[in-house]
Symmetry: C2
Subunit: 322 residues, 2 copies
Amino acid sequence: MGKVLLNWSPSEKDLNLMQSMLVGHDLRPTPWTPSDIAEAQVLIYSNRTPELDDLIPQMKSLKLIQSYYAGVDHLPWKKIPREVMVAAGTGANSEAVADMAVALMLSALRHLYLYDAEMRLNVWRRRPGKDTDGLKVTVLGTGSIGQAIARRLKSMNAVVTGVSRSGAAVPPFDHVLTVDSWIADPQGDVVIIALPLNKGTKNLINAAVLNKMPNGTLIVNIARAAIVEPESLYRWLTDNPNSVYASDVWWNEVLGTKPTVVEQPVPIESLKNVVMAPHVAGFTQTTQIKVLRVACENVGRFLAGQPPLYLVNHEDYEGLEE
Amino acid sequence: MGKVLLNWSPSEKDLNLMQSMLVGHDLRPTPWTPSDIAEAQVLIYSNRTPELDDLIPQMKSLKLIQSYYAGVDHLPWKKIPREVMVAAGTGANSEAVADMAVALMLSALRHLYLYDAEMRLNVWRRRPGKDTDGLKVTVLGTGSIGQAIARRLKSMNAVVTGVSRSGAAVPPFDHVLTVDSWIADPQGDVVIIALPLNKGTKNLINAAVLNKMPNGTLIVNIARAAIVEPESLYRWLTDNPNSVYASDVWWNEVLGTKPTVVEQPVPIESLKNVVMAPHVAGFTQTTQIKVLRVACENVGRFLAGQPPLYLVNHEDYEGLEE
């Protein structure tokens, strides 16, 4: 029998579903007893809470941290011993996130984000849009989210280039380049960022890369804001008024559903060539259940003695916060 | 040698392209001489101009009216003798229009149209979106635009039902229903209107149909506004705040690119559950050339003695304006 700590209190319905997927194992939502903490082999992590930093060093039996979501950049990496495995919540919200990438892309290509305010005043101001047919789209990241985006783009007859560390061919991409070769020559009418945030991708899109992109490039970000260097982006958007940044993710974020004011390090909201959404790419009616299933399936594998899937490398994340 | 009247003055570049596709034939843009009018066998029609009503009865040699665009509802049908063939500009802008259908659908499903105004004030108000994975989408119209929409929807794993007069199976639709059976039971989480406007489709979406749709239905219109009865729609949207109408087409329209104020018969712009674009679905950088090619290819077929493609039935249109 395994003991599994959850760093939140799920609804009764969610907890019942998790328990039904982990029969014979002991699920412990917050609050925990000292023996829960000492004995649990698995931590399922949903959101970063201040307690997490203190908790992990006290988990003397910890073998696996399972992230609820695809990104593991928010974990307190300094506190995680190298022998503890960390698994991402891979694939759970890929379809929902890919939809948002397409929504942001089309909203920018067809100027939809500009029309709402005008049309509500009955002002018609028609602008020619860009076609997806033959459009050159580069997707940074060829994982499950990148593949789901590429599948959608192929249905629109776009020419889709993937970019990954290895550059290995992956369907349904037309071509795949290595990150290094793309950085040297950052091609694409549209560049969609679908990479994990880690030490290798932080500030990957900086002034040197942006300045190689022609005026008119559309950048879509459904990954993490910190992959893009904010001051350089702000300057590039100001200098290249035909370029557009359409993003679901921001350097400063407050999740939850209560309306909240969130300021960014640069006044990007004042630029017309920006399409903005409040980190909702993975926030859909069915995503929560899918995320839960992926996490529990993987934890179930591990507790049954099989190697867990979706493991990440500590070296890619240690020192990310510095 | 054929004589072809154009009811506008194309740019020199466009005229050269048209002439290169219709070698040996005589293209006559505005202004015309009396003999141009009397001798031309073909009229290529781009926009409805007041002159068109007087022109057609004077075209004593007229055999074919070729529409530049997919819709032929704007033609002065009363003035067109039954023996004159009328061909639509079928397929030319299908991909661009399908992109706009997807853009409007995703903007509504993911609330993107509401975020721009909020995010520009740095206000984060996150709303759970709807997934396309497993979404039941009904596309009214299984022609080239409907098929291009369905192809995109299948890449998102939606369940796609087509609706046509015949109900005949067409790939890539999962099912196809007849208009009559769908009207009796108007199913679909999302209903996308991609039908031509004619006598059979005018006010097809009326109070009786709307009142059978559950609160939460999304209607997307990239066809013609007059397929939807405005007062009934306005009442339905008011009574069903979870339903959304996302449309590129309006009862009153002023095309062109100069900013213009256009009022609608109902104050639909005041409703939050409406996504609005100013008839730009087919207005993209490459559409104009594609439209021109489709029209000239079809006219070329006719002038070479072959039957023209994309012919419509007079009976479907005569009396549409009454």
